[in-house]
Symmetry: C2
Subunit: 143 residues, 2 copies
DNA sequence: TATTGTTATACTCTATAACTATA
DNA sequence: TATAGTTATAGAGTATAACAATA
């Protein structure tokens, strides 16, 4: 029942190809990080808080490109795992400030190593660091 | 309340950047196609059936990268709008074959023009056709 | 009035298992 | 037994509106 399918019309669509590539990379990330139970967005959040201790939720949400409202569940999940900590902001009674816990810092260090390794495998597929820079530069123009 | 945020840790992550670029492109597609009420996946489906009349649902689903189960609602939606038609396959009682209706063919022609224009705007942002080819080639390596 | 975190809600996308009818 | 379409379901992701506390 095999049949040659003409996919020319969709092969050239940038949005479609972005979706396919993103799905593929995301699925591979999920497998690589299944043991630690961390999603790509969760890792990004941890790395962001690590590099910017005391950041406010709305700032992290904006930096990650997720809605404030949707950030809540994400933060609650990581706080329940005692990986991050939310304290009241001293200068603004409405706001919070985020920090990694000791456990969060330790896990993030491990995740960083895993991520570096994962990223290296992608770079190898792309054909080297220059190709990766080229890809990132092109993606930036679309964002 | 502005604060300089260090996003170095996530700016270099291919998967993260893919997600951001894909979100940006899809949002812009949605706006551009809001009047006709067609999503990116729906357009891909229509173009695929147009170029491969008589294709079976499972083949279209596989070509688009969606699960067979999730393809059903998609096909039902387009059939309810009388854009596609599902007929029983003569050689296999289990299977169907897909075709565009006259209305579907007409709409797809309009969509093709809109899509070409939309794609051209993306290519312009990328910096030309060579850059687009470069991007697609890199994305293929990840898929 | 405006903003921050939050709740509630809805809609989409995706994945998996299981059913039915055919093969 | 295997496959095609389908149903059901659950889990994420995303978007919008609205609220309480605070600015």
């Amino acid at each position: 029942m095999a049949r040659r399918i003409n996919t020319a019309a969709i092969d050239g669509i940038i949005g479609y190809r972005l979706r396919r590539a993103q799905m593929a990379v995301f699925n591979r990330f999920s497998k690589a990080f299944a043991d630690v139970g961390i999603t790509p967005t969760e890792y990004s959040l941890l790395a962001l808080v690590r590099d910017n201790p005391g950041l406010r939720p709305s700032q992290v949400a904006a930096a990650l490109g997720v809605q404030r409202a949707n950030f809540v569940a994400l933060a609650v999940r990581l706080e329940a795992r005692t990986l991050i900590e939310r304290r009241s902001a001293v200068d603004d009674g409405r706001s919070h400030v985020l920090f990694l816990t000791a456990a969060g810092a330790e896990l993030t260090q491990t995740l960083q190593i895993m991520q570096d390794s994962f990223e290296a495998s992608l770079v190898a597929e792309l054909g080297g660091a220059e190709q990766r820079e080229r890809l990132l530069r092109l993606l930036t123009k679309l964002g």
